[in-house]
Amino acid sequence: MNFHRIFVEPWQSHAAHYWPVFAMALFVTVACALIGNYLVLRRISLIGDAISHSVLPGIAIAFMMTGSRSGAPMFVGALVAGVVATVIIEVLHSRSRLKQDAAIGITFSTFFAVGVILISIHGAHTDLDLDCVLFGKMDFLPGREPVFLGLPGVTVTMAALALCVGLLIIIFYKELLLSSFDPALAASMGINPRLVHYLLMAVLSVVVVGAFTSVGAILVIAMLILPAATSCMLSDRLWVMLILSVLHAFISSLGGVHIAVALQVPTAPASVVAGAGIFAIVWIVSPRQGLISLWLRNRRSDQVAEA
């Protein structure tokens, strides 16, 4: 029975395997979705892509220095690399004739290349290999030692990260809103928009490195952008958008697990495909900005014009 295999068994007989995978997918997508709203609204989606590639040398150097793949050193390494990349992008863009897109292109590909070289030299005997960097290893989580509620340490860390991002957004809602909408007014009121930008990039770097080993450097950008892209078609209030993007993250990670079971494929790309599917559906049927309602409105105005 296919239905039983795809939708029931993962939560019953195979729960010990799929629960950590689903939980990881959920925490990664929720953390990415929340911060992604601000990337989309500030029109810096590409910086998300840049950071996700730029943290690689930071991770590699932290690994070389400590010899361990876990915990704090990796986050610190990624944080430093992410912020350094952000600063280089800003400096290139403001102190030369290069536009921001070119500055991003130069910076992130160079950082990524350095990271790949470092890993090729030093990572040959570890599980920090290039497959992991590119595609993530979410489906290998069940092999890890569970520490809490049947979840391994990395997943618990990711849950804490998602919670922190949520709390930061609640605490600094007003400051993030103003500096995203009207940086000049924010600055005139003593909220430094550049500082907010760097803090946002720092949080983004931490989220990306948390997500890194699970979904890789390429897919994480989809998880940053898709939820916000979907929710901004459904609402024009920021707080509603934030809630809807979390809902998108939940549905896409749940859908991702089931697609992965059905097709026997990795969970991370399956979650991205599920998220893109939700985006496509919303784009078509959204009440105000959807393709169908636009078409209906055009037809109605044509009829009025003919009459």
Partner: protein, 258 residues
Amino acid sequence: MSNASGDEPALEVHDLTVSYLRRPVLYGVDFAVAQGSLVGIIGPNGAGKSTLIKSIMGLVPVSGGWARVFGGAVKEQITKVGYVPQRESVDWDFPVNVMDVVLMGCYGRIGLIRRTGGEERVRACAALEKVGMLAYADRQISNLSGGQQQRVFIARALAQESEIYLMDEPFAGVDAATEVALITLMKEMRDAGKTLIVVHHDLASAREYFDMLLLLNMRVVAFGETGEVFTGELLQQTYGGRLTVLSEIADKVAKGEG
């Protein structure tokens, strides 16, 4: 408001110089505005009108000189100074409604982390009422006309309850009814003792709108009562053939520094 009264000028700008890539954009700007004045800044495109108010607000780096508000640094009295950026400087598709935007005017006063509450909503409603936009409080901002957008910006400035306002092209691209409503409101604000400094692009209306005019073209060409400085000769100096002479000076200064 102890230091708002007395002889202290509301705004004093001394020898303000701003350069961009070593080329001066503003050169030795010097003027002082008394409290309760409605001042227009006029000059040709590229004269540095926006740069002047941005540099007073501390939004662009200054290479020399200073600006003071009621005798103190602008940074230390941010609640006394309200800034109204150009309407085009923000994304009007942003997911906020009219009330959200006006409430932003209260952010400076309530400080970090704390939320806007009932008191701020009352203030925002009063501000919207004054610009005739209360009925639009729940409207998404992308559904507003240019004039309505500008009214919302002015309502946000009113909600700031500042003593002095610096406004960047508030009349650009607004309908005639809005323009009349806004200048009436600005004159009311002036009569209530507020000081308004307004970048303006239309010479024809400048004469009737403002008490005082600052004619600007990289440097101050003239500053004074509208009747005294709105003369053919001074306007010619501001807009006319002097433009090339000033650029030559700018080039020389740039070379001298380089």
